[in-house]
Subunit: 343 residues, 4 copies
């Protein structure tokens, strides 16, 4: 059994990790840390775990963490980078669900996250944890940067088009919509039911932190600069991301469906829907899938891709478990055999 | 492996059965019937099942059903009673998720359901499938009447009080609230998001079909007539039932918490919360638990019990699987180890 | 034109007052105070007011308030009681939307609100602002305590039964459900969409501050102690309160419908629905009505009353405007001719 | 007083018309027709109208309609076109809220609506009822085609860019999201709360009926073909449309904000938000506004416009009243002074 620790277990990615790991066949959850809730039973804060997890939150102690085989950071941005070097030195593997190790360039990190990076020397080693892109490197990694939710859905939606060089790289639109759990479990007026319910809006149009992350992946994959317009929106619901992607074909192509099916043929968690489909976010609710449909309306010059995930699963905790499975040599799908809830 | 059939697989109890049975370690789903959707892949109608279920809906044929070990009826009221006798004769066990076999008196059935009963001779044999009440009989049964959602939450909330004869049987209030999935997956104006969303109302105050069902259980358990006022309400959400129960103590009692904990000590799916708790319906979302809290405000004469379930799981499909496990001699919790989704 | 000031205009009762007063034919809004938002355009915080209100929030200054004819306090509990005496001395009338002047006994106030009362000498003078109960006194008042939301819906539902002495005063159940806007516009984890959405729970079962308020009104009206069980619940929606009331008839009565219709015949804002109806909270969304239905299931001993309001209108800002109209001698319905939004 | 009739008053645009007209200072509602609900009090079906409207639904009779000054059709597509010619002959003005008179080319109508047009000779006369585009023509019109909801929000968002010839007409993206009331008040599984709640999806990506409508307006305004990609999505909420528009600048422009403010300076119902704003759909809930923000992220080549309306008000009934006001010579804003509900 793999001894796992979770740093920062009181947020939504934390409780979601616990939901998945509590039933994982090869994992022992050794500890869950929280400064604010230290001493409190985890299942008191999250009653859905009653009967599945008999742990108390504990204050973080380096020695306790160093005793784990693998540690998940489900902390705010800027926390993991301070603690990871010591853990790696102690031989502990790390999956960081925050943004600390996603960007390769420390100057870009500082520009978008407003603080200098604490261990820029690790940015080169950290593997971006999108298994569909970096499976082999993840399996060898000591340190995995778990991707952001929007970047996961956006990238998976675009990869087949980019691989086949089908679209104009200067003009890609990613119109993204997320449920409010993406904002985390923190008291904020804008996330109140009475504010975010029964309403819809865009946010961060001038610039969102996931834009440089997506740009880095797409440019890295294509080897060229990519002109991406990315607008996130807040959905009046809890879970789910839907990204609507628009690309302009650079030449005719009548095999889009086959290209997508072929690209993802062997992927356990990417599901290409039949031609003509419109994926619903709920088809992934609680499950680790990304479901994708590709359209070319009126056989014209625009290809439209619809990509949905559960932002807390494939967009966070589920992908983290998938990465852990790869890093530990388990079946990649272990602990992730959850059927989405419908309705 | 137990060969199971599902009659009427296009509703919410149907898809929920499929979600649970698709991962059940001892079950093969042999067939799923639907007249309206015959020939269509089940996972096309319910994309959450993609990758888990490779069946097509088929029109119901008696011979195909007779070939199963156990058949679930997830049909509208009045369907199962026409088909069950032949199946039992063929040696097939049956769990009916509709109301056909819940009421013992065919006259009461006819009064509340508006049609004569097709096989009143089976009403005596049918076992009311509340494991906490009838575990042994269920294990021996050929035919189990799966309880209604409101009756499950209400009865589990009251049993300890009734066993200890603590409250006035003439004046019990059950104020019940259900998510809209309880109304089923049928086109009805009243269940539209634009009608049932952002609003709340009582319904069926003059009389609801679950009132005679609850009354029958409570009277059967106490051996006396029970004066129950039951008002169901429609919640602007999808899943979950919360019943708020009010009883008047007939004598002082300062051990309510202990009585509840003791009564349900060995139950795998009834969870008595710590004193002072207020269960949320979401603590059971997707899971087979009933979570209960008991209060006695200001140490006065009223005991207030809060009882929550997921109406589609412990209130329908999950309890049906629990009953099947008992009937087949499996571990009672097999296939039901699902952690509720939070958030 | 009546010169009105609003103290504490950044909460939900504040913005709702502004919505109603901005179109009121006889009111000038002189100032809206907020310490935190001083200097900011009101319509920037609440864009629904763009085009209707050209004011900035300002820090509270006694002289500015003393220059008003009437001041509304839309502040947290415990604020108004410190400022009201000086305003009254300056000849300003006051409507307090918080709880400061609702309870007559300062000891009860202190027990439930956790602080001593700052001006107990005014508790006797303050008029409880339920027009259906105290219309004449409100018209003469300098200081009106605007009722709580739950007490409004509960009291209006019970008054006809109490007046006619129809029910057992020892056993009344008020099972109350409120939308989350009742918790106010403050950052709190429990009010997040991801916490309160798609879920339902009771809260404060051991004791809620509206219980002594309701008890005081009912006892005052009947002249006897009243045994009330009151359980509030949190609805996964924004606006609306539904109270389900259970009373036990002390003698037979087959004229309940007529009694209710007669009692509220001349009330502009209490609407008795036809026999058999089930009011929806949305039928009052944005409007100042209380809609009521009365039932006696199976002609038995229990009378069940369903009472709905918009907690921010008849339960707060709308009733405050109604009180202001009475105090100023305007048409009681001035500024309140808003049709509820459906859907 | 203008005598108005409403044909088809049982849908959401019908009840919304009634909400607005019931308080309109210059309108008498003469009749509301419904075949299915004939004889039933309107306020029984829509209790929000209790106290404001004392009419019964009646079966449609030509003579009764011919007696009106103006008739609104709030009927399914294909109904008005059969009845309008006779009404016009009788001297009655008409506002059609359906699509019957929106498209100028009867072949395009037939292609998208699946039926031949019943009175193609009127298509030339019918005025497209977007006051910001056709105010003078509307004032003179006998027959006004009330715009679709998506076309209203999309067109108002694009007009300033098109007028100033700022963007590439070949590549415009309109990513549109609508609350579920846009699907109407008809029983349909896809609109159930349990289906459309807590989920999000695109629909009609291959082609939606509002695409030719928008294309016609934009091409008419620019005098050139316009390459528009339009993807509608279904929001898990009741009211509101948000359109996110992407255009590619053909030359540098640093005065976008001023251009928008200037273009809509005198418009009573189009509100250009301050630079940097992100309009919420709820800022228009129940009100006739379109609120717009314009962005140019990172000063790059893409202009992004955010345009929100209430689909039932500026997207349907409110705009119909605005058109009626123009046709009747009333103040354009009469009856439309409703402040949006927040929260």
């Amino acid at each position: 059994m793999l001894k796992c620790g979770i740093v920062g277990g009181t947020g939504y990615t934390g409780v979601e990790l616990l939901r998945l790991l509590a039933r994982h066949p090869h994992v022992d959850i050794s500890l869950v840390t929280s400064r604010g809730e230290a001493g409190r039973p985890v299942a008191e804060l999250f009653p859905n775990l009653r009967g599945y997890l008999d742990l108390h939150f504990e204050a973080p102690h380096p020695a306790r963490l160093a005793d784990c085989d693998l540690v998940f950071f489900a902390t705010p941005n800027g926390t993991a980078m301070k603690e990871v070097p010591a853990l790696l030195d102690a031989g502990v593997k790390v999956v960081d669900l925050a943004a600390d190790f996603r960007l390769k360039d420390p100057a870009v990190w500082e520009a978008w996250y407003g603080m200098p990076h604490a261990c820029p020397e690790l940015l080169g080693e950290a593997v971006y944890g999108l298994p569909e892109l970096n499976r082999d490197a993840i399996a060898e990694a000591r340190l995995v940067a778990n991707p952001g939710c929007y970047p996961t859905a956006t990238t998976l939606g675009l990869l087949p088009l980019l691989k086949e060089k089908l679209i104009d790289l200067d003009r890609i639109v990613a119109d993204a919509k997320s449920g409010v759990s993406g904002a985390g479990r923190k008291a904020a007026v804008g996330s109140l039911l009475a504010e975010a319910g029964e309403s819809f809006k865009a946010y961060a149009v001038p610039g969102h932190r996931h834009w440089p992350e997506i740009s880095q992946i797409l440019s890295g994959f294509t080897g060229k600069p990519v002109g991406l317009d990315f607008v996130p929106h807040l959905l009046p619901m809890i879970r789910g991301i839907h990204v609507t992607l628009y690309g302009y074909l650079t030449s005719d192509c009548d095999t889009l469906q086959a290209i997508y099916e072929e690209f993802y043929r062997d992927e356990p968690f990417v599901d290409v829907l039949p031609a003509g489909a419109h994926p619903e976010t709920r088809s992934c609710k609680g499950a680790n899938f990304c479901r994708i449909a590709v359209h070319r309306p009126r056989n014209g010059g625009t290809v439209i891709v619809l990509s949905v995930i559960d932002n807390l699963v494939k967009g966070a905790a589920g992908q983290a478990v998938q990465n852990m499975n790869l890093m530990a040599g388990f079946d990649e799908a272990a602990g992730l055999d959850v059927v989405a809830l419908t309705p």
